[in-house]
Amino acid sequence: MNTSFDLLFEIGWRFASLSLLAIGGINALLPEFHRVVVDIEGWMTSAEFADLFALAQLAPGPNAMVVSLLGWKVAGISGAFVATIAACGPSSLVSYFAIRALEGMRNGTLRVVLQRALAPVAIGLVLASGYTLAKAADRSTGALALTLCGAAAIAATRVNPIWILAAAALAGVAGIA
């Protein structure tokens, strides 16, 4: 067996074994990913891990792409794809069968009850993640103002978010953030 195959296999089972634990998304598992790739496997330093996390936040696409970047750092392009499929595959299968089961319930009382109960919990969690990100991003009054403007623009207008982000980036260059 050549080592690169062994390495891909190692990434695969390490990440796949975490997939079903990621309740609340990959960010909830970041400490665990850090423990595996930095402390146990020694694939990268803590600083490199933090850089990849920052890049995943900046890049378009789901923040879960941090796992792709971790795989890329360890074993290049093939590492990125193995890591992504391993981390998202098992949870995606669960989601697939969960929605099938839920739709199978038709419009029974249980389904209505579940949906009515889940929606407010989801909204609370969305608000919490916005708040957590704002706390990390808003290190100045200007940045706080940008957050509030962004929230108001989305809540009260139909302007395309890309313009909000572009304007905020310009404001940042102008020294506001």
Binding site: P60, S68, Y96, A137, L170, A177
Partner: protein, 186 residues
């Protein structure tokens, strides 16, 4: 596999439009994909109402895995079966992964340029606002009863402000919410 017959299947949802919609969500989703998911699925395409969107997100939050990845799998499955799930996943995840790998190769050389850092600081602050605004939009769209507003507020305070572990919050909030909603149905 045929799409499920629960509810109506909007005519505009083909495999191609499904892929393009999730690709758009994936490629534009700077600083969090959720605001874009709501924008594209609820506002632009009108494939879901705010209520349906919030309910789907709720299911995604409870299941393991990245929420928006789960959302892609579930909506793909609902509208176009297995191939729909795979197409939605490719659009929201695999194409953006290739984009981020290209970005990663020259990120190191620009990451410390002051102008880049200032632009990122500004955009990150606004991106947090987009997520907060999306939550407000969902509340406005759902016009939930007082009990639901109180539940959302409690979950926000527990997870956002008090930083309580998500699993514990879900373990308390979900059974309580289900019990209350069950009684309301009687």
């Amino acid at each position: 596999m045929a799409p499920h017959e629960t509810g109506k299947l909007p005519h505009s949802i083909t495999r191609a439009t499904l892929f393009v919609a999730f690709l758009k969500i994936g490629l534009l989703g700077f600083g969090g994909v959720l605001p874009w998911a709501r924008r594209v699925l609820v506002e632009e395409r009108a494939w879901l109402t705010d209520r349906e969107f919030a309910e789907m997100i709720g299911i995604c939050q409870v299941l393991p895995g990245p929420n928006v990845v789960n959302l892609a799998v579930m909506l793909g499955a609902r509208w176009q079966g297995v191939s729909g799930s795979l197409l939605a996943l490719t659009g929201i995840l695999f194409v953006p992964v290739m984009a981020v790998l290209i970005l990663a190769t020259f990120y190191a050389s620009v990451a410390h340029v002051p102008v880049v850092r200032s632009a990122i600081a500004g955009a990150s602050a606004a991106a947090a606002g987009l997520i907060i605004g999306t939550a407000i939009r969902l509340i406005a769209g759902l016009r939930p009863p007082l009990r639901s507003l109180l539940l959302a507020a409690a979950v926000f305070i527990a997870v956002g402000v008090l930083q309580a572990p998500l699993l514990w919050v879900l373990a308390v909030a979900l059974p309580a919410a289900i019990a209350v909603e069950w009684r309301m149905q009687r």
